[in-house]
Symmetry: D2
Subunit: 362 residues, 4 copies
């Protein structure tokens, strides 16, 4: 209700501020007897952690996950899995100059208006640091989905005006290797180079830039999703829009599809090796809010990071005009690190609907 | 959980199939002492009802709402408001030819996969007829929001490749009049004419086309929204994506914003007549998931209607290839009627968050 | 949230006031392909309806249920089942004398304090008439449970100081026949006669009396229930306490068990025909909040009906002392009709946990 | 959904097993700007902690609470408050003898049936150790309620057959002092002595005994509670029944009230110093599920602790009969420590409904 939980049957609740003692998550509803591979959880966190390359923030956090409960002899027991990630590199003083000021396009002003109090250090609860907890929880969801043959792959498909050509998605494992071979996490190597150069240039200018992430979920059986309000893509959309800096979501044909005609957009059913498939996939694997067994595809748009290394005018808490200077260590572009957050949220959505499907199909 | 409810504090639950006895909705959590203006509810339903113009379906439904409970002497009592809308023009025979076939890009196949049974008449529960119940509930939410000085305005900003220029939003009442003066519900008269001609052409070809709706919510005080997962725009996104045929959602700067730099995208705070405002509004009135008092703006993309008046190949329930012919009375383009659904869902989201804000700010 | 829904996966939402147009319920989450036997639903409602015997209220309501949605060719489709029960015998004038007065031990004063407005006719939403909707929904839950071999039996075990001896529960079908052979619904015929005479005497005195209902749920497999807060007996307790006039709930050994020693109270495990059983059942079929496969047993206490046919002093809305006279047609004792409400709520709880169990045990 | 959360607006989620690394709780929905008095939280935990007297378990746990998030400069910020309580005195070997056996009247068998896996050490998640997390969360709820002038007082009103006479509840602060002056936490000193002697005798016999706790909530304004399913007493009942070993709950007149007549049971409204009151309080401060401003009163029954220091026969996981010996350090009677758990759960319920009331009364 207060906004810190996600999912119904596979449910997570996160806590923690950017500069508090720790952040963390409770995963409630993970089925029992899932092998909880701690190394995998850590490897996922490592892909999100700050300081991993020259085009991310230089802040240093090891983001080490500690599992406090919910497992026994390496397996989930069906009880809540609590994961703790202590905060380490907290230079709270970096923020003393903004204690009284509202940073433009940040949540400083709105948190103050909502709560009448705010932890200004690093944005407090509004910081994207919270997403580390999501990644840890998403890793558990992925371990569960793996048992059901479900794979999730995301990559950076756009940075600023640069757009990756469509990549061949036949072999997701191979694509993942390509993605992880470059620091911007684009699965098209040539575009990746272009993006990296561009982000470096942006950063040197003290500026930031937005980007886009394309995602594919493979192996979801037909029949997942709930009708009407909890359509599978509606929940995916909410999950993505809940990630810091996201300003847009589209699935399947998306906004371009709204320019098409029915006769070109309809996905014709046929069979392939005895399996029902569609000849095209403008539906993005979802029809009437329910999966049809095809690849689920969607795209997410991230606005440019609000913290720039330049002077900006703004207001202080007294409503007076003042100047704010960009300080601290920030990302020039969030999408390279956000790829793993997108995957985590997608995994959480699918895990939740998989449990629902089991409940209702008696 | 099963997907037929929306909202937490201001909560609706809808029921009913396209060709059953009735559809309807329970609004649970409407505050007491709200004047429930039945004429207003009906006038909202009239804007969504079929058969209203030459560019909508010619099906005839009066969509007459009956309030069964929750009011006393014209006012809400705080108890559940149940609204019933009997189904009238059910030519179920129109659907006998598809009882055994999966219509392309419809929910026939996925419902069968999910439930192992489906009401094939008119798409059953997956029919957009369900949205009449949302409009009735949304009308109640609007009556509540009106008391708080909150206005919602949506119009058709795009049909196929046709895109409306930005309209002057200073006077929403006037804009509403312009919108209602044409059957496509675009607030730019010249573009409206172009759209109407285009849709008529499409319809004569037995085809359909997608479109886009732009929405503005004015008067929302700063501080509405919940952090992290239940960000105001995330819930708005889910609400919109839950509407039949929606394939994309963006707010504020949206997908275009992901191409911008932070230095151009940041909304600079200043004051206007003693009120905190931002010089630009790329944030779309929402920062960190919480309203900042500026206009909330978003855009929704609708795919083309799947039912076309042409022959298409498809599969039957036995997995055999077959041909399906377009029959029945369908919309060539849903956006003119969907405008009111978008407004209804927006009203429901804002009403819910308004109640939450009252709860938590003690 | 606003209190008119019950259950999570098998979820009901009721609506309607005592003297409005209709009451009703939406059952959301009923699994598909359940045979929805309308005659059974009606027969359950008939057991609760007013006017059925000389010891119940003489109000006349046929309580005819109409299914509006969610079924196709006699089977559930997995979509919301809406049931409407029109109100018939509304002598709203019976209540004009109390429009301005707070009836003692009724909800008049508290509803006024909570909402600042109330529908005074027949208690409005606080009327036990609402429970007809629960009985209709409970009938659907029973149809679902029947498929899983689960039976529910309740009977009146006490009226005032009269207490039924323990009945032999080996054959629940036979017990049900005995119960239905007398108007007080006690499965011990001798005690039933005593209770009936007593209630008649009470009624002639213009007074009312409380009572107790004992319930047994048989056939629940081991493993149903959720740990910690949603223990099976905690939810059963909430379900029972939500029924009008209930003041107490105990399961298994109950309050008497709190006087016992561990050495006598512990239920020793053993096997019977290869099945794990316990030699005694002080646990009432639930251990650690989870069913153990034994009969689930509980008892519910109902206070005497607040409306008595006598003059009482009270306050009016202006806070002045005034006199109120008992008028209208009311039950001298609610337990004979409440038996079916208790069964309905028990069925709803078990149905919900059965779905949860399917979800989590992957 | 999976049972580890309680409350809707003021919502807690607990985690942790008896012998894991830590237990803890997230409080989500605590309003901002509440002074979070850490000493008070610790003093509440100290009242529940093991080893506090000769009639409790001799296990030693300091139960030191660490606040990880959600506060800034000593005040709540409206974001999730996470509290960690590390486990210290874990003699897991004490449990190796039961790894394969089902302890009678414990949750060993049912957890195994539900999950197919269990952490047998100390009962794992089913251990009452989890309630320390509730006490910490309840302390925060109490700090919030204090601001609204709401007090909660519970004491041991019965142990085995021993029943305390009614105590004078005019001065709750004084009563609390009396209660805390004896180790059994009964507010009647003479009865307290009797209870202590009795429990000591029971313990020497290697046996255990049940008991009862009476609670009073004072200062709740009229109008708290939701109608129909979420009646205030229904949620209180669920809260109490969710506490380990509870077998019964009654409020106001309770089970005894079911033996009374309406003419004696009705609470007559009158005024006292301009305030609406009732002459008697059989309603227990709640009418129609909503508070009427009078003291809320209820009683909870606890069964005897299942672990006794005697040999018992039982089954092992293979379904073979075996003998189990009582080992470890256990409470002979839980009620002295449970008093603070009952208060904590009551505080959580009232806090939740207080927020709901603010939401809906616009």
């Amino acid at each position: 209700m207060a906004g810190n939980s996600f999912g119904e049957l596979f449910r997570i609740t996160t806590f923690g501020e950017s500069h508090g003692k720790a952040i963390g998550v409770i995963v409630d509803g993970c089925p029992p007897n899932i092998q909880i591979d701690e190394e995998f959880i850590q490897s996922e966190l490592d892909k999100r952690k700050p300081g991993q390359s020259k085009i991310t923030t230089q802040r240093k956090e090891s983001d080490t996950a500690q599992i406090l409960s919910g497992t026994f002899e390496g397996k989930s027991t069906g009880t809540p899995i609590a994961i703790l990630i202590p905060n380490e590199d907290q230079r709270s003083k970096d923020y003393s100059h903004i204690a009284d000021k509202y940073r433009p396009s940040h949540a400083d002003y709105t948190y103050q208006m909502k709560y009448g109090i705010r932890d200004y250090r690093g944005g407090g609860r509004s910081s994207a640091r919270e997403t580390a907890a999501r990644v840890a929880a998403g890793a558990i969801a992925k371990l569960f989905l793996k048992q059901h043959g479900i794979e999730i792959f995301a990559h950076v498909s756009g940075v600023g005006e640069i757009e990756s050509p469509n990549v061949d998605t036949a072999d997701l494992k191979n694509l993942l290797e390509i993605r992880e071979s470059n620091i911007v996490r684009c699965a098209d190597p040539a575009t990746a180079n272009e993006m990296i150069s561009f982000i470096e240039k942006i950063r040197k200018n003290g500026d930031t830039v937005g980007g886009r992430i394309f995602t594919i979920i493979r192996g979801v059986p037909a029949g997942l999703g709930e009708p009407v309000f909890d359509k599978l893509h509606a929940e995916l959309g909410k999950a993505m829009l809940s990630i810091n800096a996201v300003h847009g979501f589209e699935y399947g044909s998306g906004f371009e599809g709204s320019k098409m005609r029915g006769s070109e957009h309809n996905d014709i059913f046929t069979t392939e090796n005895g399996k029902v498939v569609t000849k095209t996939n403008f539906s993005g694997g979802i029809q009437g809010g329910i999966s049809n067994g095809m690849d689920i595809t969607f795209k997410v748009a991230f606005k440019p990071v609000a913290t720039i290394m330049r002077d900006q005018t703004t207001l202080n808490q007294q409503g007076e005009e003042t100047t704010i200077s960009g300080k601290g260590r920030h990302d020039p572009c969030v999408v390279p690190r956000a790829v793993i957050i997108v995957e985590a949220m997608a995994a959480l959505v699918i895990a939740d609907y998989l449990l629902k499907q089991k409940a209702y199909l008696v």
